[in-house]
């Protein structure tokens, strides 16, 4: 009965979303307050129904109810409970239900906390959110119903894809979806503004925190996904420019741009139209990502099932939402007033620079990701656009942006002084150059890339510190500085943390890419190998038994650089019984920020086994940086102040451009 109630609740959620979309829009058109007021309670009820539905599916997974086709196809009675539960979204139907759940959750949150929004804006925002909901509920019920039943019920499930049977699945998709779907709120605000043809002051106040929240989740989701791929797939890489990764990276780039332009918008009421457009673009990339992953256009771990009907349906959603909102934008953009003026050399100017580069970078990734698909559709030829293309184009775009980052917070609003900002960054610049030279001289004389990377990372980190130090005012004595430092608003700390996190990630990437050591060899038990001063003695190769898999484990004794014993490290190869599918389990040992990474290959003819060992210096900084960035976002989000951009007084007349 629980399953069927879940199914029924899902159909009710569709019905509620339809009302949520239609009634408030009718209300704002006809000027009826009651119809507008339908938005709030309906959005909350839609969330309640979706949550019931999701809970019912989860209960079916927990009880291994194989009369539900989705449970049968994606779980196994012997899985540990945690993986039974995460299997709920480890498949196409369940993950779309999670999408819908988060979508309705955000709709309900706007309804719950949007009391201080102007009535019409609130009604329109929730209605647009409802329209998105209708599309996804229809998609669920018509092409990907998670509640399809089997009669008679099979006795055992087909198990979840073994690669997904990992704690990563518990964290990565929900975080990523919170990010993706979070942009739907920004989108709803943008479209609501376009529908009414006016941007309220409250608009900017609302869009920034939502953008920030979505961005935090997306950042964490991508960092988590990257670390998961790193340890689970056994290739030792952290980013593969895989189309599916790019699908999550594009909304991140657009969202980062949106985040910065929303700041300008809130503080200075400038860049309004651009911000609206960016909000549409960010959500469009989220939808595009969903389309790329869910339609089966791309073959990857993420493409759970391929079904042309789904592809066409998602394509239709994509065309309607992206095309519709852009058409509305073209129609209404002139009626929005442009807002504040600023000089090109100013905080606003720096943020525009950031926006231009981020959007260009997103476009580059977009082209690189879709060009092969496009070419295949035209003449059937298969090409792959890989890391070399992205490293070159994306790297070339990112470098000037990274150099510019520390300048931004140093500039005054409205009109700034580039020379003064450079003077204030002198210490950071000197430090960065010194660190680059040190790396060149003492670590590796041939590693120009490592030296440049380290210098750039130091520049970002020291730039962030300089910002805080200068704001505290060093020259005024320790106690004054301290009290001023404490008095700084959270948003200043958020900025510093965010930029410093970026520096950490750059440092990790540069060090790992330039200085990692790799050994690939065939080993037999009793043999030993040395990597980066650590010695690994292949002690044993033995089978072990997991709940729903068998694993062959290679055990190594680890000896440190000074000859001290560091215990065991083991890597394994698993075979999951139900799917007869092998996976690798890499053995990872962390030393400070660096890691020793062992992964097993195929058994060799001579009785040995292929072993790959990497020494990855500072590799964990890549993800720690991501977490620090998200932390910065969180600190900034906790700053509940209204944002007022205090412009610098005009000292000498300058030409003001619009």
């Amino acid at each position: 009965m629980i399953v069927e109630l879940g199914h029924f609740a899902l159909t009710l959620a569709l019905a509620l979303s339809l009302v949520q979309a239609a009634a408030p829009l009718a209300g704002t058109t006809l000027g009826d307050h009651r119809l507008m007021a339908v938005a709030g309670p309906t959005a909350m009820a839609a969330f309640l129904m979706t949550a019931l539905s999701f809970a019912a599916l989860m209960a079916s997974y927990a009880a291994s109810d194989f009369s539900v086709a989705n449970v049968y196809a994606n779980s196994h009675s012997l899985q540990p409970m945690i993986f039974k539960l995460t299997s709920v979204w480890g498949n196409h139907e369940g993950s779309m239900l999670l999408w819908a759940l988060i979508l309705t959750l955000f709709g309900a949150l706007v309804a719950l906390f949007g009391g201080n929004l102007p009535e019409r804006l609130r009604a329109n925002v929730i209605a647009v959110q409802g329209v998105v909901g209708v599309a996804f509920f229809l998609f669920l019920l018509l092409t990907s119903n998670p509640f399809a039943r089997l009669d008679p019920a099979p006795i055992e499930g087909e198990d979840l894809n073994p690669i997904l049977q990992d704690f990563g699945l518990a964290v990565h998709p929900p975080l990523l979806y919170l990010g993706y779907v979070g942009y739907s709120i920004c989108f709803a605000f943008a479209v609501a503004a376009l529908i009414d043809g006016k941007l309220d002051a409250a608009w900017a106040r609302w869009v920034r925190p939502w953008t920030m929240a979505a961005w935090i989740f997306l950042t964490l989701g991508i960092a988590m996904g990257s670390y998961w791929a790193y340890y689970e797939l056994g290739w030792g890489g952290f980013w593969f420019w895989d189309p599916v990764e790019n699908a999550s990276f594009m909304p991140w780039l657009a969202g980062t741009a949106l985040l910065h332009s929303a700041i300008v918008m809130e503080k200075r009421e400038a860049l309004k139209i651009w911000t609206v457009l960016l909000a549409i673009i960010a959500f469009s990339f989220s939808l595009l990502g969903t389309f790329l992953v869910r339609s089966g256009v791309l073959t990857s771990v993420h493409a759970f099932a391929t079904d042309p009907a789904r592809g066409v349906f998602i394509l239709a959603i994509l065309v309607i939402f992206i095309g519709g909102s852009l058409a509305l934008f073209a129609l209404r953009a002139q009626t929005l007033n442009a807002g504040g003026l600023f000089h090109p050399i100013s905080r606003e100017g720096a943020l525009v620079f950031n926006n231009l580069i981020l959007v260009t970078a997103a476009a580059t990734v977009f082209v690189g990701t879709l060009y092969p698909l496009f070419l295949e559709a035209i003449d059937g030829s298969k090409i792959s656009v890989g890391a070399p293309f992205f490293n070159l184009t994306f790297g070339a775009l990112a470098a000037p942006l990274l150099i510019a980052v520390p300048f931004g917070p140093m500039m005054a609003w409205k009109r700034g002084d580039l020379f003064a900002a450079t003077q204030r960054l002198f210490a950071a610049l000197g430090g960065a150059l010194a660190i680059g030279a040190l790396v060149m001289l003492f670590v590796d004389r041939n590693a120009l890339f490592a030296a440049l990377g380290a210098a750039l990372a130091a520049w970002l980190l020291l730039g962030a510190v300089s910002d805080l130090v200068l704001r505290a005012g060093l020259s005024k004595g320790a106690s004054v500085s301290w009290s001023r430092l404490k008095g700084l608003p959270n948003s200043v700390y958020g900025t510093a943390l965010g930029h410093a996190g970026l520096g950490l990630t750059v440092l990790g990437m540069a060090m790992t890419s330039a200085l990692q050591e790799e050994r690939i060899l065939a080993m037999k038990t009793g043999e030993s190998v040395e990597v980066a001063g650590y010695r690994l003695d292949f002690k044993a190769y033995e089978p072990t038994q997991g709940p729903n898999f068998t694993e062959d484990r290679a055990l190594f004794d680890l000896t440190g650089t000074g000859g001290e014993a560091l215990g065991e490290i083991f890597a394994g190869k698993r075979v999951y019984q139900a799917r007869r599918m092998p996976t690798t389990e890499s053995g990872i040992r962390t030393f400070g920020f660096s890691q020793l990474y062992v992964s097993l290959g195929d058994p060799q003819d001579n009785g040995g086994i292929a072993v790959r060992i990497w020494w990855k210096p500072f590799v964990t900084l890549i993800w720690i940086g991501g977490v620090v960035m998200a932390l910065g976002g969180l600190v900034s989000l906790a700053d509940r102040r209204l944002r007022v951009g205090a412009p610098a007084a005009r000292r000498k007349p300058v030409a003001v451009v619009q």
Binding site: E4, F8, L30, G31, E119, A201
Partner: protein, 375 residues
């Protein structure tokens, strides 16, 4: 019934949510620009707090205040505009409320399966065995054996079932476990050999040959082992040796034994090979393709396949009622399939074909296999 009650309750909640604005007094409508003014007022207050905290300098604050003041002026100009009068659209409200049950129920009516109960695995495992399918019975036995891996009689029961439903690898493991736990016997070793050769597409490899040899060490007259050892010779090309062994097998064992017929057929085939008209004989058990096919089948198809196998066995026993092993297989099959009545019927029919000693053996076997209510 309970389902419909809950469904109606959910519908009620959904409809009430839509109806909510009509259930309470309307709040007084707010001028649109008033919201903007409130935001700006908050911003001015915030600016004062920032100055008080010393976060921004006084002159910058003045500049900012001037800018906000400009925004306030713009917004106040609009604040005087009258609010559009609200019309009362009762009909639209009624339509919105009715849309919820109409859309929800019509979608569910097309897509749902309200009569189909949930089937959590744990509950299915505790149900009366008579209502379980073969697969469920196997799963029950497996979970029992997972909890009691040393229960030899459990392995003894499940091993032939594995063979029958085509899970040959599991059958091999079960026989190996059984031999480890309960010790060797000619029957067990021969059954293991048979499982191994089924896995190898009917070709007798070194491991299955070794199993048959062990069976013959324990009982040199064991018919199944002798048959397959002869087959091994035939497959190795030693046709003369094979023929001699089959001939002596036919002479030795009870003429009602299935191995007599099998040996005769094998002999005929060997003669054909001698004449150069047929390939080397292979085992006549299910081929790997058939086993693989069974694995790929859906639950329903597999049940149908088992049904037809059992029906074939039943029919052949009508012609050869003296085949004790056949009767045993049939009774066991019916018990496994959850058809105790059919098993009882088979025992009644077997009484006519078997002598009293062998019939008693069949009854003992049936009792051991879990049959109740005999005599």
């Amino acid at each position: 019934m309970l389902f419909w009650l809950f469904a109606a309750f959910l519908t009620l909640i959904a409809a009430l949510a839509v109806l909510w604005p009509w259930l309470r007094r309307p709040s007084s409508p707010q001028a649109e620009a008033v919201g903007d003014l409130a935001v700006y007022r908050d911003q001015l207050a915030e600016l004062d707090r920032d100055v008080a905290r010393g976060v921004i300098a006084a002159e910058t604050a003045t500049e900012a205040r001037a800018e906000i003041a400009r925004r306030v002026l713009k917004a106040s100009a609009k604040a005087g505009e009258p609010v559009r009068s609200a019309r009362n659209l009762r009909l639209a409200g009624v339509a919105a409320v009715l849309a919820v049950p109409l859309i929800g129920w019509s979608f569910y009516a097309t897509l749902g399966a309200p009569g189909l109960p949930a089937q959590p695995l744990a509950e299915r495992m505790t149900r009366n065995p008579a209502n379980n399918s073969v697969e469920e019975l196997v799963a029950r036995a497996e979970s029992h054996l997972k909890a009691n891996p040393d229960d030899a009689s459990g392995w003894e029961v499940i091993a032939p079932i594995y063979m029958r439903i085509g899970r040959v690898d599991d059958a091999i493991k079960a026989y190996e476990t059984l031999i480890r736990l309960a010790g060797q016997s000619a029957d067990r070793e021969a059954a293991l050999g048979e499982a191994l050769l089924t896995r190898d597409n009917g070709v007798i490899g070194p491991d299955s040959r070794a199993a048959f040899d062990r069976a013959l060490m324990l009982d040199s007259k064991h018919a199944k082992a002798r048959f397959f050892v002869a087959l091994a010779h035939a497959q190795a090309g030693k046709l003369g040796q094979a023929k001699a062994q089959w001939t002596s097998l036919i002479a030795d064992v009870d003429p009602a034994s299935p191995w007599v017929g099998a040996s005769r057929e094998a002999l005929a085939q060997v003669d054909q090979i001698a004449g150069g008209s047929a390939p080397a004989p292979a085992d006549k058990g299910p081929t790997q393709e058939e086993v693989a096919a069974a694995n790929d089948m859906s639950a329903g198809d597999r049940a149908a396949m088992i049904d037809s196998m059992v029906a074939r066995l039943d029919a052949s026993l009508k012609e050869k009622p003296g085949d004790l092993d056949g009767w045993k297989k049939l009774v066991r099959a019916y018990l496994v399939m959850g058809k105790p009545d059919a098993a009882r019927d088979a025992i009644v029919r077997a009484e006519k074909g078997l002598d009293s000693g062998r019939f008693a053996e069949l009854k003992t076997f049936a009792r051991d296999a879990g049959m109740t209510g005999l005599d």
